[in-house]
């Protein structure tokens, strides 16, 4: 068994742009905005960065292929820049590249930057289209909401939940995230909503209405990581370290083999179990202080509570309705507004989640600061329920 990366890597600095419909900015401006905050926070010079990982998803819009857009935008000192892409989990991939580089000893200081400029498409929602030359010739021509909405049909069938009860629970998921997002000056959507707003919104993909879907946003986020020793040497206190970072990818069994029932994320369960083991967590419901879920859709968040062992199997609806995940609940979820309200610039989202956990752990989260969080977790998901990439990252105060 590999020894893992627990406490081998410390976060030196982070930054995040304002998310939203950034009509005035291109991807380059968003990168600079996030990076400037991160390097200021780290207190280092750009020449001290040994290598960088850069995440973007859509190359048809945005900045195109390769690592050059980051290197050129930041005028990086001719260091290695690797572009990574793993659907909506791309941000976690960039972070993983930087963290592993430091953990291996290959780099002293590494940079992860994620960006997505989505609002250059000319329409709402994410660009569609299936990759490759074969898949579009046979696979259903679905949208993201249509793919994730299917969780609801299977979850209802499995747990014998009627449509209204599920609708109300996922409405509460969104009401909670809007309440949190309203307090976050960098969030895309900053209006609180009521349960009635969510229930009565226009239908997007049965049973998901408009308020069950996350924002489609422009934005960038950045992280600079190093070893705990270097962080201390640079005079850092209150250091946040990486406790675990795990990815699990579908291998086609959910979509091609009659084992999966359609109501949960097979990969999230595996990634979470591995991450808890790496971090030494054996009672997640009691030990995790707060988390950022990949709430691309309200139903995704609901079923993921169970996949991450925070709610018991079939128990997420009760926990949600009891306020367990609200800002004043036992495990606040999406305290920054989540994908739902902070927004979802795809390549940046995984790093944005870590940004909030980092701020909370350092006590710098302003009017949304939680009392005394010690363990923060991020869950970053790419793909669709039947075929996906699940990334789970756990961060906490360095022991």
């Amino acid at each position: 068994m590999a020894r893992g990366i627990k406490d081998k890597v410390a976060i030196l600095g982070m930054g995040c742009s304002k998310f939203g419909e950034r009509w005035e900015s291109g991807a380059e401006e968003l990168i600079v905005e996030a990076f400037s905050e991160a390097i200021g926070d780290a207190g280092i010079d750009v020449s001290e960065i040994d290598a960088a990982w850069f995440s973007t998803h859509y190359e048809e819009i945005n900045v195109g292929k390769g690592g050059l857009p980051l290197s050129i935008t930041l005028r990086l000192p001719n260091i290695a820049v690797t572009r990574v892409e793993n659907f909506c989990a791309s941000g976690s991939e960039a972070f993983r590249g930087a963290v592993y580089a430091v953990a291996s000893g290959a780099c002293d200081i590494a940079l992860a930057v994620g960006v997505e400029k989505l609002k250059d498409t000319g329409y709402g929602g994410l660009p569609g289209g299936l990759g490759g030359t074969l898949t579009p010739q046979w696979s259903a021509n679905g949208s993201a909401p249509g793919n994730f909405a299917q969780l609801a049909s299977a979850y209802r069938a499995k747990h014998r939940v009627n449509r209204d009860d599920l609708k109300r629970a996922i409405a509460h998921v969104s009401v909670k995230s809007h309440a949190n997002g309203a307090k976050n000056p960098k969030a895309h959507l900053r209006k609180a909503i009521t349960e009635a707003d969510a229930l009565n919104a226009p239908m997007i993909a049965e049973p998901l209405g408009l308020f069950d879907c996350c924002g489609v946003s422009d934005g960038a986020a950045a992280a600079i990581v190093t070893t705990p020793e270097i962080a201390r040497r640079l005079g850092k206190h209150n250091i946040v370290s990486v406790k675990a970072l795990q990815l699990s990818l579908s291998n086609g069994s959910e979509s091609g083999h009659n084992g999966w029932d359609g109501s949960y994320f097979h990969t999230a369960r595996i990634a979470a179990a591995k991450a808890y083991k790496e971090a030494g967590i054996d009672r997640p419901r009691d030990q995790v202080s707060m988390f950022e879920c990949h709430d691309c859709f309200s139903i995704t968040e609901l079923v993921t509570m169970e996949d991450l062992q925070l709610s018991p199997e079939g128990g997420a609806i009760k926990d949600v309705m009891d306020g367990f995940y609200d800002a004043d609940g036992q495990i606040p979820c999406q305290i920054d507004g989540g994908l739902k309200c902070f927004g979802h610039p795809i390549g940046a989202s995984g790093i944005r989640m870590l940004y909030e956990m980092y701020l909370q752990l350092q006590g710098r989260a302003g009017n949304r600061q939680l009392a005394s969080p010690s363990i923060g977790m991020t869950h970053n998901l790419g793909g669709s329920p039947m075929s996906n990439v699940a990334a789970v990252c756990i961060v906490g105060a360095l022991d």
């Binding site: 498409t121 000319g122 329409y123 929602g125 569609g128 289209g129 030359t133 074969l134 579009p136 010739q137 046979w138 696979s139 259903a140 021509n141 679905g142 949208s143 909401p145 249509g146 793919n147 909405a149 299917q150 969780l151 609801a152 049909s153 299977a154 209802r156 069938a157 226009p202 239908m203 997007i204 993909a205 049965e206 998901l208 291998n251 086609g252 069994s253 979509s255 091609g256 083999h257 009659n258 084992g259 029932d261 359609g262 329920p385 039947m386």
Partner: protein
């Protein structure tokens, strides 16, 4: 003895009320008011003459069981509305039906008698011994201008007949063809719509003068007389024209068979075959003489005699079942939209269908894409779609163990679904979801012929051959299989 050994008919489920068409146009043409009776078959947006032809062939009894150890087989596809002008449509149909590649495939078109002409060619080829077995598919989805006579009179549909020497239900007595360049209507190669001449002229100078002598010659070749004809099968959209012809020839008035105008409309080249199937199913008794006429640049006449095997022919794939599988449609606007007869705002998301199709991939995976052929792992037995080099069963993962396995006719159920208003489809919301096959295998696919509220987890579905998407920019139609509720499918 050569003859017809089986029939199968497909009519689209949607039935557009003629009153809905008339209501839209009567402001400009008050004369239409009298034509508001009945309904016509109407393709869903994802149906064309190829998809209907495949579905008609699937309704032929045992259509995929070849005759003999080394079958010698032909497939004729007749249509004036084939989606491809240069890519053989019959080959698309045969691949969709997973026929072996040792097969003669032929497209026949360019005249409204293409269906009967294809049947004559098939009968001749089997009688002559060139082939042991032939399948004739006639299918049409005729494009008409809004407010045209054809829009009201036509329907969409397909019929398939099997021709052979064993198990003949209607034996061939004779054929006769008259070839006359009589232009009741025409459509230039590059034109979208027909251009037609006056009905009275067509009736008096065309039908009345070309058909009777041809029928008389066919009957003489058969050694029978007009008075002995029990079933006179001839489509015409001109009221009572066929009754007049029957009278001229001396065929008893009661032998003139229903042209299904009230419930279906005239289905182009398919229609003589649709009417024949309807007669065989409902009216024909053993020993009856049947005359089938196809009119267009002359006429084809086929004289048949019903045989005892007719009694054993299954009833579930004929016209009655096709007519019974019906959904009323009263929204004429939907007909215009499905047939691309109005410039509709489709939104930017529709642009994603206009991608270039990698023909190399389409060819490599043709059994998968057109025939819905997946794999069966010979090591663990797991069925899977698509077929892959490595078995999908997490407990197996064997490499290079899969043999082809067809999923087309397998029973399946809905595992997950949604009705999506965001994704572009010509018929929103887009229904799709994961279906699982009872014997193993699953994939996510589009649903078609469903309405909001129809789909639920656990619902049994059948698979049907449909248009997946259309590359309008390059004029390429992509086909695949979609799920329909089993309760409305009768494949």
């Amino acid at each position: 003895m050569v003859g017809i050994t089986g029939y199968g008919v497909y009519l689209p489920r949607l039935r557009l009320a003629r009153a809905a068409i008339v209501d839209a146009h009567v402001w400009a043409d008050p004369g239409l008011r009298s034509k508001a009776k009945g309904e016509r078959t109407m393709c869903n947006w994802d149906e064309d003459s190829v998809t209907m032809g495949v579905e008609a062939a699937r309704r032929l009894p045992h259509f995929d069981v070849p005759i003999g150890e080394q079958p010698s087989r032909a497939l004729y596809f007749a249509s004036t509305t084939a989606p491809f002008a240069d890519r053989q449509n019959a080959a698309i149909v045969s691949t969709a039906l997973s026929f072996p590649e040792d097969l003669a495939t032929v497209d026949i078109g360019a005249s409204q008698r293409a269906g009967t002409s294809a049947l004559i060619q098939a009968l001749a080829a089997v009688r002559g011994g060139t082939f042991e077995d032939a399948i004739v598919i006639a299918s049409d989805k005729r494009r008409t201008r809004a407010a045209s006579a054809g829009e009201l009179a036509f329907g969409d549909g397909a019929a398939a007949l099997r021709v052979g020497c064993d198990g003949v239900i209607a034996t061939l007595r004779s054929v006769h063809t008259a070839s006359v360049d009589f232009i009741d209507h025409f459509r230039g190669s590059a034109e979208e719509f027909d251009y037609g001449w006056e009905e009275r002229w067509i009736r008096d100078e065309g039908l009345a003068k070309i058909v009777p002598p041809a029928v008389a010659k066919a009957l003489a070749k058969a050694g029978t007389t007009a008075a002995d004809v029990a079933h006179f099968i001839m489509p015409s959209t001109i009221a009572r024209a066929v009754d007049g012809i029957a009278k001229t020839i001396g065929v008893p008035g009661k032998a003139v068979r229903d042209n299904l105008g009230e419930q279906c409309g005239e289905t182009g080249v398919a229609h003589p075959l649709v009417m024949l199937a309807h007669a065989l199913e409902n009216h024909v008794r053993v020993g009856d003489i049947i005359v089938v006429v196809g009119f267009g640049q002359g006429c084809d006449v086929i004289v048949l005699e019903a045989m005892p095997a007719l009694a054993d022919h299954p009833k579930n794939g004929g016209v009655n079942a096709a007519l019974a599988n019906r959904q009323a449609e009263t929204n004429y606007q939907k007909f215009l939209a499905f047939n691309d007869l109005i410039a509709l705002e489709k939104g930017m998301r529709a642009e994603r269908d206009d991608y270039k199709t990698a023909l190399t991939v389409t060819y490599r995976r043709r059994d998968m894409l057109l025939g819905l052929v997946g794999g069966r792992c010979t090591k663990c037995g797991t069925l899977q779609f698509p077929r892959a080099d490595v078995c999908v069963n997490p407990q197996c993962r064997a490499t290079h163990t899969q043999e082809p396995h067809g999923f087309r006719d397998a029973s399946a159920k809905v595992l997950t679904w949604s009705a999506d208003y965001l994704t572009y489809t010509a018929d929103p919301p887009s229904h799709y979801g994961m279906i699982t096959f009872d014997e193993g295998g699953r994939f996510m696919t589009d649903f078609t012929d469903v309405n909001v509220g129809d789909v639920e987890v656990g619902m049994a579905v059948h698979l049907v051959f449909r248009i997946k998407s259309i590359d309008h920019q390059r004029g390429f139609v992509r086909y695949f299989w979609k799920a329909v509720p089993a309760r409305i499918a009768h494949a």
